[in-house]
Amino acid sequence: MGKRIKKENLKRLFDDISKEYKVIAPVKRGEDYVLEEVKDFSEVALDYPTTILPAKKFILPYKEPIFALDGGEFKELIPDEKIAFFALHMCDANAIGRLDLVFWNDPYYQARREKMLIVGISCKPIETCFCKSTGANVLTNACDLFLKADGENYIGFSMTEKGRKFLSQLYFGPETVDVREVKIDYDEKMHLDIYTIGRRILEDYNNPVWEQTAKRCLACTNCTLVCPLCYCFDVIDETFIVPNEGQRVRCWDSCLLLSFARVAGGHNFRKDLKARYRNIYTHKFKTFVDEFGVPSCVGCGRCITFCPADIDMRETLSKLGGA
């Protein structure tokens, strides 16, 4: 059950959240939209197409110091920040919900996550969206609060205790609105039977689609960088100019890179780009499903938008059959 909020009252909600949290919201930058820290509600884009990067850049920073190397000792650097995402699309919020499954015992991730507030908002799906195929178009408790568009105004739904606190504020109307299911519904350009396709990856390992698509792939890693659920990482020690001081950092990596599956002595278990390209799919639609019951893809479509070789993940998947 939800409560109505008038569009002009969203500022009061934003301001209340800002009192407690560092607020990250979509803003317009040039022709595109990005997620960044926002202090003034007037900067927030409520109706926006997919941002360039997802929320991942704040939750699993591209390069995160995890230990200070202080005089040859490892000192934990646990982040201490209280982040609120304001007006996050359903797919991006659900991507965080799926990252939670992986990083449940990761002290750095959890330090941020436990204090985090996520306020989702309705979106208007664009041509590259396929969240319905991945099951990420449905409201889950990855959102603490969700703002469903209702004409000019919104209906707020709280999914957690943290969200309820804000829903009880006066800027939400007193009467409750009965809505059976909150989901993003639209006609996908291409609907995919993701679970069947995922099973087929191992069954039909040498499907010609890998060879054909890998020929076009530049291994630029754009797709894995913009993916809200690509979380592969590398761990590197950096030393400072001062003796015995430095830091151990965790940074984004990509299984598309040649070095990814290389071992000491030089043997590379995925030397061919074909194998590395296929691995993205194996992990997202088979390994992750086996491990957690959902794919590590929310169908946000960023990998399609930002592929310089015009590779469309949906086309690759559809060629594996099961559509």
Partner: protein, 273 residues
Amino acid sequence: MENIYKPFKSKILKVTEQTCDTKVFRIEVKDFEYSPGQFVELSIPGIGEAPISITSSPHEKGYIDLCVRRVGTVTNALHRMNAGDYVWIRGPYGVGFPFETIKGKDIVYVAGGIGMAPLRSSLNYVLHHKKDFGKITVLYGARTPADLLYKEEFDKWAKECNFLVTVDSDKLPDGKPSGWKGNIGVVTTLFAKLNYSIKDAIGIVCGPPVMYKFVIQEFRKAGMPDSSIYLSLERHMKCGVGKCQHCQINNRYVCLDGPVFNYADAKQLPESI
């Protein structure tokens, strides 16, 4: 929350030179339970972290031995360290050899090069509990006589099990003759020297990636079913706890599900060997 990435400080008790590029580091540990086949993540602050298999046997208490070839930044830095220096350890990680399943059976170990390191842990464990197992055979191959590891234990192993050694070449790395009197040829040539049936034995293999399929062929020729073959697989596990994805093989993680895999399982996994 406990920090799953935080290593603990450990003293190097002893360094033993094995070959020109391989040393054994004895590291002090307390209350450290592990099983043969498992590995640790070893850190040198400012240099980095690397997964290293444990080469000592769990019946040896108070320390672990790590047999390390100098190949990367961490292992090169480690080779410059001495007894009394400190390294940082976390682990043990992974699943080792399934001794409960293979109890009472004959075992054939096949080790190639540095693959001897994890196998030695298992071998010495089995020899220590000899009455629980059948006939033990070790087939060990290295590039040259100068590359053979644990030569000081050869006599002991030859007494306690059927221990066969071969080298790819009897020349020393500088091309000079070594005076080697033993077998010459790749490790699979030793199978012809077995004068008994290994059909019902358990095969345990660790070596360079290229070696596996040839060894498996020999086991199959001898009539050994795939489910009796165990492989210790190599990957660069960066996190050791199933997160970083570097050791993922399709829907398995070498750091969580391995590094020891049953071949009946591994053969279903393309890219595993």
